[in-house]
Amino acid sequence: MDSTWVFIGVFFALAPLLAAAPIVIGHYLGPSKPNPIKNDVYECGLKTVGDAWVRFKVQYYLFALVFLIFDVELVFLYPWAVAYDMLPTFAVLEGLLFIVMLLAALVYAWKREALDWYD
């Protein structure tokens, strides 16, 4: 085991605790006088209309989808970039082909209007 990863492990255990400490302190220091109106949903002073439900856009899903595909392909490229000194020209071209595939994906999503925000 690399010692830096042990350190990161310790940090992973400590950071949430440090972030939680002020919140917990504040929770006990502050007054606590809950009442139903205070704890109700806050919607700019208006009463909650209907069943508080908006059907959200498919758009959000599409952005996450294109992001997913890009993310996976980009992670593949990192080892390629790290190994750059070992690579012959042919291997570099293969990497470029991979990037061209990414561009193709982007162009498709673009032409298909999946990246447009519309109302």
């Binding site: 940090f11 950071a15 890009f70 447009d116 925000w117």
Partner: protein, 406 residues
């Protein structure tokens, strides 16, 4: 004063001290790790308090105001007063909230930013030395995204959820150019280790890769959610975004996380593109390297504050178009050009290679500008400034329609 040349002596001294107290070696190591982690985490957390004062003051001056000037000299004690006030505020938990997730979100939000720090090299031989550091930064960044999604969901408020959706859509969209831009320094240094990336910068990478540096910087501002990309706090549109139901210290944690994240972006930009801790004398005296890193990071952070004080907020469709239809293709093209040229110039020295890449970057930038001009002509007339006329000359109110649903 030998520790000025070799700060690991401090660690050795501490180790001997603890061993002298009769602790077992394993326990001593653990105690040192915990101490190191505590120091590395509390440092930024305390620094945030100063950042908040600095940012308020700087933005105020940009906007011709005075800023905080009542508590202490130059209002320096203002953030402490704010912390005291926030600590004694009532902690309101909405009755219908998903309690556990509601508590987790602000903690995750701040912890996600703190966790970026162990990967950062602070000087020669001190600070992070993670072998996959660049991807580690991306991985930890996902925690903040999750925190926002959880915050929006757990409050059980449709505006909060809407704000969270918008913010997350924005964050993941801007993550693509960031990951692409990060690939370029990795390619130039042949390593994902930030320490190795700093070591490879005999010529700062901003010379060889000015466009990736710019893309990284702009996209990071958007990722953090600062003006001009602060749709998550669009008070006029979705009241306050995902943290509408948060108050007191929990709300403050989101804010502290945002400020610290902005500064961390400065640190990462300095490490990746501006030579990190490198500077005259930093090899011999690592403490000096820490100072250089801090100086570079602070300058970059100042630019972020400057941008915040200057630019108006962009519209959400422009925001998403900007990343998907401009930054991402640009980053892809730059990456391809860098890859090809780097292989072609592999025998050249550091400076010729960097200058060659600089020329290529400039050419790509000019082409992108021309392309932008072409696109600009096709935009709706009110959006383009005509000579002798303000850009908002003809405003026609949109037809009334439902806000979000389809």
């Amino acid at each position: 004063m030998a520790f000025l040349q070799d700060p690991t002596l401090i660690v050795e001294w501490l180790r001997q001290l603890l061993l002298g107290w009769g602790l077992s070696p394993a326990l001593t190591s653990l105690a040192l790790y915990v101490l190191g982690a505590l120091a590395l985490a509390t440092g930024p957390l305390l620094w945030v308090i100063f950042l908040i004062w600095f940012e308020r003051k700087a933005v105020a001056r940009i906007q011709d105001r005075l800023g905080p000037n009542r508590v202490g000299k130059y209002g320096l004690l203002q953030p402490f007063a704010d912390v005291l006030k926030l600590l004694t505020k009532e902690d309101i938990i909405p009755a219908k909230a998903d309690k556990f997730l509601y508590w987790m979100a602000p903690i995750l939000s701040l912890a996600g930013v703190l966790l970026l720090w162990p990967a950062v090299p602070l000087g020669k031989g001190i600070g992070g030395n993670v072998n996959v550091a660049v991807l580690y930064l991306v991985a930890v960044g996902t925690l903040s995204t999750f925190a926002i999604l959880v915050a929006g969901w757990s409050a059980n408020n449709k505006y909060a959820l809407l704000g969270a959706f918008r913010t997350v859509a924005q964050m993941i969209s801007y993550e693509v150019p960031i990951v692409l831009a990060l690939l370029v320094p990795v390619l130039l240094a042949r390593s994902m280790n930030l320490q190795a990336i700093v070591a490879a910068q005999d010529v700062w990478f901003v010379v060889a890769a000015p466009l990736p540096a710019l893309i990284f910087f702009v996209a990071s501002i958007a990722e953090v959610g600062r003006t001009p990309f602060d749709l998550l706090e669009a008070e006029s549109e979705i009241i306050a975004g995902f943290h509408i139901e948060y108050s007191g210290m929990k709300f403050a944690m989101f804010f502290a996380g945002e400020f610290l994240h902005a500064f961390t972006v400065g640190v990462l930009g300095a490490v990746l593109f501006f030579g990190g801790w490198r500077g005259p004398g930093a090899e011999a005296y690592p403490i000096l390297g820490l100072f250089y890193l801090w100086l570079k990071a602070f300058l970059l952070y100042f630019v972020i504050v400057w941008v915040r004080g200057t630019f108006p907020r962009v519209r959400i469709d422009h925001l998403l178009d900007f990343t998907w239809k401009f930054l991402t293709p640009l980053a892809l093209v730059v990456l391809m050009a860098t890859a090809v040229l780097d292989k072609a110039l592999v025998r050249a020295g550091a400076w010729p290679r960097a200058l060659g890449l600089l020329v290529v970057n400039a050419v790509i930038w000019l082409l992108a500008q021309r392309w932008l001009r072409k696109v600009e002509k096709r935009l709706e007339p009110p959006m383009v400034a005509q000579p002798g006329q303000y850009p908002v000359a003809r405003y026609t109110p949109p037809e009334p329609q439902a806000a979000e649903g389809d």
